[in-house]
């Protein structure tokens, strides 16, 4: 079923269409919001507001452009949250930065297991890509530092990172089929 059909069904009062719209678009919109806000909880708040505002205004949406409309609303919501956050930070006292609590219990086990499997898959990547990913993800280095360490231009480091991540994803999907 296309987005157009889904939106038309939703406008006619079909609540099941709403569920399909969530299924189809929430992940991409959420990742987009994470990319802008870099905070899981804020991204969730923005995601909720995005769907509410987009769907309340559904009568004015061109049904063929539902996805781009959702992204537009998400972008607006994310920037709004960012501005609020910035204003709040300017007004309030500098907060004591607490380290991100490490997960514990079953979640920690899952995460460790995932990390182990990713490390195994990482070994299958070409060395230049593996080096950049390790430096960035496991050592937390900035891209410019990595490029300087490896003695290559920034774009080369970025290209290795991007290609390496794509390759890793393919390996991951293949191992889970």
């Amino acid at each position: 079923m296309t987005d157009t059909e889904l939106l038309i069904r939703f406008r006619k009062g079909d609540d099941c269409a709403l569920e399909v719209i969530f299924e189809r678009h929430e992940t991409a919109i959420f990742h987009f919001l994470i990319g802008i806000l870099r905070d899981h909880h804020q991204a969730e708040d923005a995601l909720q507001e995005t769907f509410i505002k987009a769907l309340l205004d559904s009568e004015s949406i061109d049904p063929e452009k539902l996805r781009s409309w959702l992204f537009t609303v998400a972008h607006r919501e994310a920037l709004l949250l960012k501005r609020k956050q910035k204003r709040r930070a300017e007004l309030s006292e500098p907060a004591l930065e607490l380290p991100d609590p490490s997960p514990c219990g079953p979640e920690a086990v899952d995460r460790n297991d995932l990390a182990r499997r990713i490390t195994e898959l990482l070994d299958e990547l070409p060395r230049p890509q593996r080096e950049v990913i390790r430096a960035r993800i496991f050592e937390g280095k900035r891209y410019r530092e990595i490029a300087a360490d490896l003695g290559c231009p920034l774009n080369t480091a970025l290209a290795r990172m991007h290609e390496g991540l794509k390759r890793l994803r393919q390996l991951w999907e293949r191992s889970h089929v």
């Binding site: 990742h31 991007h162 890793l168 991951w172």
Partner: protein, 220 residues
């Protein structure tokens, strides 16, 4: 010479920018530009989504929203839709009532104007009292119903023309009362029967017949 970037190169540049932006490594001006671009450029949006997806896979974070948000969205959206339907129904009912009221007022005004133009009107009762011909001449004495006989009763039709009370009524009042009752088919039927009975009585008087035959059925 100015070099036009190739599509592939543009795409790569976009991906690198997305990588740097997501990592918070773009300088403020470039970050602002890229952020503005994210509002309308589908390629930039897709690049950022891809970067977050890939990074999430590697650093072991599951970037999946809590499904509870869905019920919150559903609650707000469906509640708003229900209240919109209620508002629509209310507005429709109000507009219907207004239209009906306007139509009634307009009918009343036009009938009154016709009455003024055609005066004096002739009522069925006065017609019968004066002659035997044309027992049911309907004239637009309607608007005076509301003014002179606002609550006519079906029994009025059963009254005889020689009734003392009816004689005191003005022609218009009686006519208006009768006219108002034509809306009810039962009353109209009774009225026509009554008219026939009166004509027969007048005929009997002319012929000097004392005993009237039983009341006739209305001729179909």
């Amino acid at each position: 010479m100015f070099e036009i970037p190739q599509p592939t190169q543009q795409r790569e540049d976009l991906q690198y920018q997305a990588l740097l932006y997501a990592a918070g490594e773009l300088n403020p001006a470039a970050a602002e530009t890229f952020e503005a671009r994210l509002g309308s450029d589908a390629d930039a949006q897709q690049a950022l989504v891809q970067v977050v997806q890939l990074a999430g896979l590697v650093d072991g974070r599951s970037y999946i929203p809590d499904p509870a948000y869905r019920s919150a969205v559903r609650q707000v959206v469906l509640a708003e839709r229900r209240s919109w339907h209620r508002r629509l129904a209310t507005w429709l009912a109000l507009s219907g009532a207004c239209a009906a009221a306007i139509a009634l007022i307009a009918t009343g005004i036009s009938a009154k104007q016709t009455l003024v133009g055609n005066a004096p009107s002739v009522s069925p009762h006065s017609e019968v009292a004066q002659s035997n011909s044309a027992p049911l001449v309907v004239t637009p004495a309607v608007p005076q119903i509301a003014e002179s006989a606002p609550n006519p009763t079906p029994g009025l039709l059963a009254k005889q023309p020689d009734d003392a009370a009816a004689a005191n009524d003005t022609e218009d009042t009686v006519g208006a009362a009768n006219w108002s009752e034509f809306a009810n088919p039962v009353w109209l039927h009774k009225y026509l029967l009554d008219q026939q009975r009166r004509q027969l009585r007048l005929l009997a008087n002319d012929l000097n017949i004392e005993q009237l035959p039983p009341p006739p059925e209305l001729l179909e």
